[in-house]
Amino acid sequence: MSKNVLKVEHATMQFGGVVAVDNMNLEVNEGEIVSLIGPNGAGKTTAFNVITGVYAPSNGRVAFNGETIVRNHPTGKMKKLYKGSDPELYTGAYRAEADTPEARAALEQAEKERDPYAFSDHVIAPTPDKITKLGMARTFQNIRLWKSQTVFENILIAKHCRVTAGLVAATFRANRAEEQRHREECEELLRVMDLEKVRNEPATSLPYGMQRRVEIARALATEPSLLLLDEPAAGMNPQETDELTSFIGRIRDDFKLTVFLIEHHMDLVMDISDRIYVLDFGKLIADGTPAEIQNNQRVIDAYLGVSNDA
């Protein structure tokens, strides 16, 4: 059984009265490519935002490589508004269900080993940069490149989180070796992503498909072990999508990554995924291998529909 890289537990995200993600549980294991699919507005990007720390979930827990990186429970106003389940799961008020004291103690012990902060009110809500530094990188549904910078600079800036030199050292160039090394790594990424020819172009002047490649290269520059891609094939023609499919497989092998992606291009998803999770109205309605998902009636009704060339 390969190591668990990402684990999302009971994650619920509520904005005011609207529940965007409802009690989501999923796992991603080392070396896998897992996809999250579902109709528009199902809450997929919101799930990404919870995992990467952009939002603190209204309730729930996220663990990365076994370590709890996000943990929250309803407080204040949210306590009254909360429409999800198990609001006390991540608080001190949670009581393990068991009959005998020994059984309860054993359950508590198991729980504590899984979640070190179990049975406490402890909240962990880091800013996204901390999570990125732990080794989780993401791309965005609407491309967010830095428009005043070139392609190369966009990738180089992503290396900043791996810089060990302080402000003074960097300003007075005492970090030449590290800077050189980072630049070389970025050049390598340019080569791998086939962006060498455009390295000095302003990043946002490129065609859409190329900009997506720059975003992926940028995410890779942060040296992640888990890569989250938000609709990487959006705006790509079928040929580009094919290239992307083989490309994702290649970087997974070359960079020793685990990949978690959101996508609507079903060819890409079915081709490349080891497992698929399906989200509809914030709830997970199915998960399994591509074959299982394609034959799942609930998924077909909600999202996939029936193929015309059946």
């Binding site: 830095w146 910078q149 960097a170």
Partner: protein, 451 residues
């Protein structure tokens, strides 16, 4: 490398200007004040232009720097008379005096450098404290909050209870200023501000081109993406704020040295506005722009436009005729240019168009009509002026200079929003190479990939 040579040449030039006879004193004034404003403008550009944090607190940090410097360098002997209102005022020592006593001329320089750095540190410290609550705010709220803090600092400095240190709202003077610097018989009053300012600006340039500078630019362009790529927003914004204020403090101290006196009332919000306008004119995001615009701004406001303040009487009819012809040609030329541009864009003054519901209507381009009316009026006045026995030019009297100046600034703000240099720099190395006929990579941003 080229930059270093350039700076050295610049300093040598200043040395000559300081000591050659016959150099107009206005030129030296503009150069000195321009150098100081260049440093403030660069510090503000670092914050506003490169990190995207719209802050209006510059004057407050300059104030802190100026007072720190002044208080620490007033000679002990003069402290009693300067702090007249607050008996026993003054800090009781003077860093420059002590060092001069121990090490002579070199001691003065060392003392000044130490006090400048202290001035920056005090400003930076306050920036750190202020930044904690304020940097979270959205852009216009950040602007007003920093403006507010600057005003609070100004009131604080004038507080009578702090009088023994700050001398309340009274003047501080007598401290080490630029005229105290000599190298033997050579005067250094213009070299020194250039030297200090230049060194500080060089540090800022190094910062901008370092990995932290790039992180600042990423925050400016898209802070959500910057955060996702591992850049801690709070820490980096604070960094930028503190560094910008550090240099603003140093420039405040330099201003004190230049004026040889310090008073809280000069560091009003109006000063911050002037710096902001300099940054905008030079180009938000361009260090070269800020430097050049500073000299232009100081030159215009102190020197070149001064003639507009003087009541001018032309010598005789011929002079008046020449003036009228030149004036008429300028008005005509501008009107023609504006109208042609509008017509080319498809907006003639009057145009018959088909209204949406059918039928013909006349669309009027009001600004074109206004330009025509204005031009006709000015030309009419021109003719009347020639005919009349008057020899005195109207409008030119005290205050006109600043009005013209403000109009020029408004024109730049409205029509040339990217400023003189936009967000690109003048790369001396690239310029040098191209002068020697070599093809290089474009100098799009300072240093590009090569530094």
């Amino acid at each position: 490398m080229v930059t270093v040579v350039l700076l050295a040449a610049l300093l040598a030039l200043m040395l000559l200007l300081d000591n050659l006879p016959g150099v107009p004193s206005m030129l030296l004034t503009v150069l000195r004040k321009g150098a100081i404003y260049a440093l403030v403008a660069v510090s503000m550009n670092l914050l506003n232009g490169f990190t995207g944090l719209f802050s209006l607190g510059q004057a407050g940090f300059m104030l802190l720097g100026a007072y720190t410097y002044a208080v620490l360098t007033i000679p002990v002997g003069s402290q009693a008379s300067i702090y007249q209102q607050y008996k026993g005022g003054g800090v009781g020592f003077s860093i420059t005096e002590s060092l001069t006593g121990a090490m002579g001329g070199f001691g003065t320089l060392l003392g000044v450098v130490i006090c400048l750095i202290l001035a920056g540190i005090v400003a930076g410290l306050f920036a750190y404290l202020i930044g904690l609550p304020v940097l979270r705010l959205k852009s216009d709220y950040l602007a007003i909050a920093t403006l507010g803090f600057a005003e609070i600092l100004r009131a604080l400095i004038q507080y009578t209870k702090l009088g023994p240190i700050t001398n309340g709202s009274n003047l501080l003077y007598g401290f080490t200023s630029f005229s105290d610097f000599h190298l033997g018989a050579l005067k250094l009053s213009t070299v020194m501000p250039f030297l200090f300012s230049g060194l500080c600006i060089a540090v800022v340039v190094l910062l901008i081109n370092s990995t932290y500078g790039r992180a600042f630019k990423a925050i400016r362009d898209d802070e959500v993406a910057a955060e996702a790529m591992g850049i801690n927003l709070a820490r980096h914004k604070r960094m930028s704020f503190v560094i910008s204020s550090f240099f603003a403090g140093i420039s405040g101290a330099l201003l004190a040295m230049y004026q040889a006196s310090v008073q809280a009332v000069t560091f009003k919000a109006a000063m911050t506005y002037e710096i902001l306008l300099i940054v905008v004119i030079g180009g938000i995001g361009s260090i070269t722009g800020s430097v050049v615009a500073s000299f232009l701004f100081v030159g215009c406001s102190e020197w070149w436009l001064r003639f507009l303040d003087n009541e001018t009487t032309l010598k005789n009819f011929n002079a008046k005729l020449i003036f009228a012809i030149v004036f008429g040609l300028i008005v005509l030329g501008l009107a023609v240019v504006i109208l042609r541009r509008d017509c080319k864009k498809g907006l003639p003054p009057l145009r018959r168009i088909t209204a949406p519901g059918g039928g013909k209507r006349v669309r009027v381009n009001w600004s074109a009509i206004a330009s025509i009316v204005l031009a006709v009026a000015l030309l009419g006045w021109d003719v009347w002026f020639v005919i009349s026995p008057n020899l005195k030019l109207p409008l030119l009297r005290s205050g006109f200079r600043m009005v013209v100046f403000s109009v020029v600034i408004m024109i730049m703000v409205l029509f040339f929003r990217r400023g003189l240099f936009g967000d690109s720099e003048l790369d001396p190395a690239a310029l040098w190479d191209s002068l020697r006929g070599r093809r290089t990579q474009s100098g799009r941003s300072a240093g590009g990939d090569r530094r």
